[in-house]
Symmetry: C2
Subunit: 201 residues, 2 copies
DNA sequence: CGGGGCGGATGACGGATGTCATGCGCACGT
DNA sequence: ACGTGCGCATGACATCCGTCATCCGCCCCG
């Protein structure tokens, strides 16, 4: 009997996945949480074998939660189950030590198989996403560029950004300019969009 | 036995919801589709009583699908089940003749109740969202403003937008300026963000 | 019927943005 | 030690953007 932990901020999806997985005779959902920072304690308390983690969660994102699991509870393997097939997510997830990565528009039947593969110590990665990840590659952005671009995503003016980061206005413009160039965009807003789609923020 | 149609573009969520709802003895999932433009045919073919519709779907969004159902298959009531509690969505959904509106972070137990209420001819609306909808009010944007702002969301320059809408560059700027003013934003990007959060696009 | 309000359209103007060249200090890998 | 790359900053310049004044057509209401 494989013991599962579900982590997803949408209660309805969480409950529905639990119902789906409980139909399998060899699977058993032993814990459910709605926040990333509750994953570790819950997994420990319930002695989970595999953790199914969403990426977007309050408190701690699923990838970081997977990292915490690997460090503090290595007996529990993790499987990312997410809405967005952002190439950068997959790369970061694998770096964080996850064993599997499934997007939410894969057929329901395959989820149980992915869980079993992960539990058996194998990898379960969406093949389409894997090639996309290789094609897109790692983020070309520097840490500062990424940071400034992430702040710019809220739609603030350069002066506001400069205030938040304690940098000169011109420097902020330079970072944005570099980010725009590296993303192949022509405006700041487009650069934000591209970076988000690739999971670089 | 209440006959249900599920429409959600994420196969995993769709299958999971089906598993969850099939646990109820008085509910029965008789059709599943992944596109909005397949809803009407599927509902007719399966003689569904209630359609659970996601908002974001390829082909036709869930709200428009609900409108099509009301017009061509009035025996089938519709219930919106969506990720985003955008106030504008609720308003448009009710205008389109839906009987219910549930966000995906409500507890799983309540979904079946909502389905039964809708089937009985009652309304099932998230109360928090209802007050938010009233507080935010209808979209202050005119149709042109909304259209231009929606195009601007991709991050294009004014010249590109003007080309797409066959308007002068200055006119596009005026629409954007009006939208910025009405949304209380200070920049174009911020206006896009505000409008999206309220479901005005 | 005439005036007023409103959405839509245009062009001019000041300020913000994106780009480029340049300089300086610092942590590296060789 | 030296070159290289990165972080930070400055200044100048060509565009682009946001705002405003203005004009036009239309519907509504007195």
């Amino acid at each position: 009997m494989i013991r599962l932990l579900l982590a997803d901020d949408q209660a309805l999806v969480r409950g529905a996945l639990a119902a789906l997985l409980d139909l399998e005779t060899d699977l058993e959902v032993v814990a459910q949480v709605g926040r990333g920072d509750e994953v570790l304690d819950a997994a420990r308390g319930a002695a989970a074998d595999v953790a199914l983690l969403d990426v977007e969660m309050p408190g701690l994102d699923g990838i970081a939660a997977a990292g915490a699991l690997r460090e503090h509870l290595p007996t529990c393997r993790s499987l990312i189950v997410t809405t967005f097939g952002r190439p950068g997510y997959l790369r970061r997830a694998l770096d964080a030590g996850t064993s599997g990565f499934v997007v939410k528009d894969t057929p329901a039947e395959r989820l149980a198989d992915a869980v079993r593969r992960v539990h058996a110590g194998l990898r379960a990665v969406d093949p389409d996403l894997a090639v996309a990840s290789l094609a897109v590659g790692a983020s070309p952005l520097t840490e500062r560029e990424r940071h400034v671009l992430a702040l710019a995503a809220d739609g603030g003016t350069v002066a506001q950004l400069a205030g938040e980061v304690f940098l000169s206005e011109g420097t902020v413009r330079n970072y944005l300019s570099a980010a725009i160039g590296k993303t192949g965009a022509r405006t700041r807003a487009e650069a934000v969009r591209v970076a988000q789609e690739n999971g670089w923020l």
